[in-house]
């Protein structure tokens, strides 16, 4: 039995279903991210776990106990809100102490635990400040300390880093992960930032239009997306519409051949999701970093370099080919390999191609 179990969780607002038939189990101490585009129901899911929204159907259990029978105030869940929701009329220390007061913990122990929590987020020096006089990153830390000081069963984070600038966000990601691992607190993070989800979590749960589409470890989800949506949402990819023209044997590792327009190349055997059709339409996905440059005519397809964009640690090329514009990324480890306007051949390892069930649009 998993630590936290969501089963068939559904929330309807009138006609529209914000969350539909959502199943997820989270192990104790695990860090899971709910990832999806805006409006896909991430916050609604979190609010149901926290107890601020009542599900229309489904169940939530914590160690086998029915969480829905417990009021929000008694669930013992720590939450960090997107707006931080600090109490503006209380100092940092008073903010952090609030949850301990509600638990009727004696003053000396309260003081000690507040000090510990503030030390954890490196804010000992600012204990007597008011939130108004703090930066976004500092407020973020106060919110985290306030949620952690009650030693919550579960920590819920709703886009906690989205108000921070890029550099600070990266720092906070590392720190957040460190604190989470040290405390061993089961954590669910909501985000629409795929890099953040992959950097922080043990598993990512990708949501689309209120439904859970794939739950997997970050590497697994990135390398083996099960749908066109997951493949396009996690990182960049070259998405091509094609057709399986030659199905090889059914054993794993067998190669098949796919055609995209006039170009035919090898790919791993179609996964079961694609169905049993002899020549099914598929979405072919090749990640930009998996594409290699060859001399013109020596690759699978030829193209001309339409643009070359310098991004610091890597180059991003846009190559015009008969298949459409393909993206290629290259580590910046030497001089650029090809020039704008030049013609190149592109090739990729058959094992790096992903075939996904055909959908009209991602």
């Amino acid at each position: 039995m998993a630590f936290l179990e969501l089963k068939g969780l559904t929330k309807r607002f009138g006609e529209i279903a914000a969350v539909e038939n959502f199943d997820l189990s989270v192990e104790r101490g695990e860090f899971v991210s709910l990832l999806g585009p805006s409006g896909c129901g991430k916050t609604t899911t979190l609010q149901m776990i926290a107890g601020f929204e009542t599900p229309s159907a489904g169940s939530i259990t914590l160690e086998g106990r029915d969480l829905l029978a417990i009021k929000a105030r008694s669930r013992g869940i720590g939450i960090v809100f997107q707006s931080y929701a600090l109490f503006p009329h209380m100092t940092v220390a008073q903010n952090v102490e609030f949850g301990l007061e509600m638990r009727k913990i004696a003053a000396p122990e309260r003081r000690q635990r507040v000090a510990e929590a503030l030390a954890l987020v490196h804010l000992e020096a600012l204990a007597d400040r008011y939130p108004r006089a703090m930066s976004g990153g500092q407020r973020q830390r106060v919110a985290l300390a306030r949620a952690l000081v009650i030693r919550p069963e579960i920590l819920l984070l709703d886009e906690p880093l989205s108000n921070l600038d890029a550099k600070l966000r990266e720092e906070m990601q590392l720190e957040l992960r460190g604190i989470q691992q040290r405390m061993g607190v089961t954590t669910i993070l909501v985000t629409h930032d795929q890099t953040e989800a992959m950097a922080l979590s043990d598993r990512v749960a990708v949501m689309h239009r209120g439904r859970l589409v794939q739950v997997a470890r970050p590497l697994e989800a990135y390398e083996h997306p099960r749908s066109d949506f997951v493949s396009s949402f996690l990182g960049k990819t070259n998405r091509l519409e094609g057709k399986v023209v030659e199905r090889a044997g059914e054993r794993a590792g067998d190669l098949c051949r796919v055609a995209v327009g006039e170009t035919v190349f090898a790919a791993p055997a179609p996964p079961p999701e694609i169905g049993k059709d002899a020549r099914p339409r598929v979405i072919v996905s090749v990640r930009p970093e998996k594409v290699e440059f060859r001399a013109a005519g020596a690759g699978l397809v030829d193209g001309t370099v339409a643009a070359r964009i310098f991004l610091g640690d890597h180059w991003l090329y846009q190559i015009e080919t008969p298949l459409g514009v393909l993206l290629v990324t290259r580590q910046n480890v030497g001089p650029a390999e090809v020039e704008t306007g030049g013609s190149v051949g592109l090739a990729w390892d058959a094992a790096q191609v992903r075939l996904l069930p055909f959908e009209e649009t991602a």
Partner: protein
């Protein structure tokens, strides 16, 4: 640099022109009568000679030295203070309940709250007179129910004035608190709840402190309006429970001692201003570091 400055000056000039009509109205209707009243308060009045354009402080000395006027001022501010406290006690929870309501009910109930402001003060106060008279609705009902033998005296008492004033002033408090509630982050209530706070704790420890600036500014409005209210104390207090504004009215229209009336009016103005300014000072010092 130069063109930018020119544009800036041009914009500023236009702003002044746009303000001009309002400014003219303000000068004509507010400042001129006030200055004339101020000048009038230094003149003297004789029963046979009428108003004489002398220039002295005797009117002020008369008021400040007379225990009769002391009592009137004390009563006025007492009524205003009690009215303010009651309005804060009633209006704050009322605003919070409205704020928490579903939007469909909220607009209907907001209208009910603002309702008293839509009826003329005189009509509304006469309504209270009908309710509170010795043979009014309340006393008749209580006597018919044999809960009391003798009518409770409500007309011509400060208590009656306070009740009617609270009725008029509560909307101002509700609106001020309502605005403050809308400035706060609704997630703070959820945060408190997730930390284990019950509804009452959330209200007193999280909502109310954040709404306090609204309660305080509402109090300021209610206090100054109550201290200078005329119609309500005139109808419900009559000659027996005089307040400053009805006293001024009597000096002007019954005694015809305009200079004395003007002096009392100016003293009321100064007293209210003093209360407002010092109150503001205290409030600002208390809240500047928290809300700013």
């Amino acid at each position: 640099m130069a063109p930018a400055a020119a544009v800036d000056r041009e914009a500023r000039r236009r702003a002044w022109w746009l303000c001009a009509p309002a400014l003219a109205l303000f000068l004509a209707l507010m400042v001129v009568p006030l200055v004339m009243t101020f000048v009038l308060s230094f003149h003297s009045f004789g029963f046979y000679t009428g108003i004489e354009p002398t220039f002295g402080l005797h009117n002020y000395l008369d008021v400040l030295g007379d225990s009769y006027f002391h009592e009137i001022f004390a009563r006025t501010f007492g009524i205003a203070l009690v009215t303010t406290l009651l309005c804060a006690a009633i209006g704050t929870p009322e605003a919070y309940i409205l704020y928490r309501m579903r939007s469909r009910w909220r607009s209907a109930l907001l209208l009910v709250v603002i309702g008293p402001l839509l009826i003329s003060v005189v009509v509304r106060t006469l309504g209270w007179a009908i309710l509170m008279g010795n043979r009014g609705v309340i006393n008749t009902a209580l006597m018919n129910l044999e809960l009391i033998d003798r009518p409770i005296k409500m007309m011509y008492t400060p208590g009656g004035i306070v009740i009617a004033l609270v009725h008029v002033m509560v909307p101002f408090m509700v609106i001020a608190v309502w605005a403050a509630l809308h400035r706060q982050d609704p997630a703070t209530e959820q945060a408190a709840e997730s930390l284990g706070a019950g509804p009452l704790t959330i209200f007193f420890r999280v909502v109310l402190p954040q709404a306090m600036p609204g309660v305080l500014s509402g109090s300021l409005i209610v206090f100054s309006l109550s201290a200078s209210a005329f119609a309500t104390p005139a109808i419900l207090g009559g000659r027996r429970v005089k307040v400053v504004s009805t006293t001024v009215y009597d000096e002007f229209l019954n005694t015809l001692n305009w200079p004395l009336g003007a002096a009392i009016a100016i003293l009321l103005l100064v007293a209210v201003l003093l209360v407002m300014v010092s109150y503001n000072r205290v409030v600002e010092r208390r809240f500047s570091q928290v809300f700013g």
